[in-house]
């Protein structure tokens, strides 16, 4: 997303309408009441409660959006009326600010099916609109749980894909399902001892480093890329602090607007796009330091680490094979062949000896 463009737009908006802006507190005077509900035509009730604290902690709260930035058809509150604003309100149009996301979404199968009258989701059905956080810190499983898996059971499809559990655990759906994304291998620190992912801020705390110092400290050759030896140092340092780190690898995507261009017909089905040394999907490797806000720092990593035993739990058949094993294998094969051939040739060469002996007896 064009972050700067967005920030600019916000500033502009804030400057243009400062006087008329309705404060969030005004809305929350009524909408922080957990009992406030609306009865829908079909008899169901819709809670109109908005959790102030959770909203403040959300990405939009952090960026100080006001309620009316989204609910933009409320221009003022009229306290004389029973409900101080028009109802029903227009659906919120996220594309006011997220135009690139909206553009990609418009080309998705979800948008197409929605237009065709199916109840396929738009922005607000997928995102927890009031409470959404930055999504950079989430690992594949979290992202899948927050999104696709809420509505789809992938085991019902993908008959052609072997080892479904493995793939769904290690490959974000959008790697295959969104056109134009940049797949990335994410490496995160998993602590064997406490059996969990260690969040980035905790790692920094344990290492007693600030965010800026991290790269300085562990990128020993200052080329901006973490290579194998550098990661080994990191691992050793963590070990010294009681964290039994393994670098957990998984295949995510760079969070760009393209993740919304969900497709069925053009989904990746060729194994070779991943299971091949040097496959395009394995070119970008990053080390992730997550933050509590859901943001994250990404550090470029040398893709060669994938073929080392160090990244011990990420192994894509064929693609990230350890070359040393094949050198050992070649020697073993050679020994087997040399034995059979050598012995056979000797037997052939010595056959006159045996013939002579046969004649004697």
């Amino acid at each position: 997303m064009g972050r700067l463009a967005l920030a600019g737009l916000l500033l502009l908006g804030a400057n243009a309408l400062p006087l008329f802006a309705v404060e969030n507190d005004e809305c929350l005077a009524c909408h922080s009441d957990p009992e406030l509900v609306k009865v829908l035509p079909n008899g169901d009730t819709l809670s109109l409660f908005v959790d102030e604290e959770k909203f403040a902690a959300s990405v939009h709260g952090i960026n100080e959006l006001s309620c009316t930035d989204c609910h933009s058809d409320i221009e003022e509150l009229n306290y004389d009326a029973e409900v101080p604003h028009p109802v029903p309100l227009q659906p919120v149009d996220c594309s006011m600010c997220h135009d690139e996301e909206a553009e990609a979404y418009a080309q998705s199968i979800h948008a197409q099916l929605r237009e065709a009258g199916k109840d396929a989701p738009s922005c607000a059905q997928c995102h927890a609109y009031h409470y959404t956080k930055y999504l950079y810190a989430d690992n594949v499983q979290d992202l899948e749980n927050k999104f696709c898996l809420r509505c789809h059971d992938p085991y019902r499809f993908h008959a052609w894909l072997p080892q479904k559990a493995t793939h769904f655990r290690h490959v974000m759906c959008t790697v295959c399902h969104a056109e134009g994304v940049s797949p990335q291998v994410h490496l995160r620190v998993f602590d064997r001892k406490s059996d969990r992912f260690v969040p980035g801020h905790e790692l920094l705390q344990v290492l007693n480093l600030s965010e800026d110092e991290f790269l300085e400290t562990y990128d020993a050759n200052s080329n901006g890329i973490l290579d194998l030896t550098e990661l080994e140092h990191l691992k050793a340092a963590l070990h010294g602090k009681g964290i039994h780190a393994v670098f957990f690898g998984e295949m995510g995507v760079e969070l760009t607007p393209e993740v919304h261009r969900v497709t069925k017909a053009k989904a990746v089905q060729t194994c070779e796009s991943c299971h091949q040394p040097g496959a395009t999907n394995l070119q970008q490797v990053v080390f992730v330091l997550s933050k509590p806000t859901g943001e994250a720092e990404f550090f470029e990593v040398d893709p060669k680490v994938l073929t080392s035993p160090e990244v011990s739990n990420f192994y894509l058949l064929n693609a990230t094979r350890i070359p040393l094993l094949d050198r050992i294998g070649l020697v073993v094969l050679f020994l087997g062949l040399a034995f059979a051939l050598g012995h056979g040739v000797l037997r052939f060469l010595t056959s006159p000896l045996r013939r002579k002996k046969g004649e004697k007896s």
């Binding site: 290690h170 294998g329 059979a340 056979g344």
Partner: protein
């Protein structure tokens, strides 16, 4: 001609399923590991075929285990005190020297003692250690998602896979040596025939 009944039916069934299975596993194994260089069959087909044959060979291993434990015949695989030094030495000397100059094979198979000292040691290591290891790592690799916990406890996917791959090369080398050694009978085909009919034929002595 002396005829000895060496290989009962279950052993022959086990053996040929095993032999064909391992051969195909090695071939598909090469395809899986070197899909970038080899294009015998598609990667996906190789994955699927390797998995099914792997399951078949694992069940076949249970047949072997059940038969040999159930009948107590597993003894033919266990080296005796004699085999460990003297037998092994005699047999090694035969293969390294005697066989070239036309000496007689110091070992004569009988149903209760059908392997020479070196065969016992090799076959025991293979059937008692290497094949089970290959079967276990293979089963773990069949569903790395479901078995993630166990795999992690064993040191990670790359460790489990490394064991499987090194053994794969060992089996590939074994097939070559095994085939060659099996041809060293009285005639080129006699041991192979024995493994099909069950009867080993030995020229009468003297």
């Amino acid at each position: 001609m002396k005829r000895v009944y060496l290989h009962p039916v279950p052993v022959r069934i086990w053996h040929w399923i095993h032999a064909l299975g391992i051969l195909l596993l090695v071939l598909t194994g090469f395809q899986l590991r070197f899909a970038d260089h080899l294009h015998w069959i598609s990667f996906r087909t190789a994955v699927v075929v390797h998995a099914w044959i792997g399951i078949l060979v694992s069940l076949d291993f249970l047949l072997w285990l059940g038969y040999y434990l159930g009948t107590g015949k597993i003894r033919v695989y266990l080296p005796r005190a004699y085999d460990l030094l003297k037998g092994a030495w005699k047999q090694a000397r035969y293969y390294a020297y005697g066989i070239f100059v036309g000496e007689e094979n110091p070992f004569h198979p009988e149903p209760e003692n059908k392997f020479n000292a070196l065969q016992k040691m090799t076959y025991l290591a293979i059937m008692g250690l290497l094949v089970p290891l290959q079967v276990i790592t293979g089963i773990l690799l069949l569903n790395t998602g479901k078995f993630a916990g166990i795999i992690e406890a064993l040191g990670g996917l790359k460790v489990v896979d490394a064991v499987h791959v090194v053994l794969f090369y060992v089996f590939a080398a074994f097939i070559i040596a095994h085939f060659y050694l099996a041809s060293l009978g009285p005639t080129f085909w006699s041991h192979f025939k024995a493994m099909i009919t069950g009867w080993e034929e030995e020229p009468e002595e003297g």
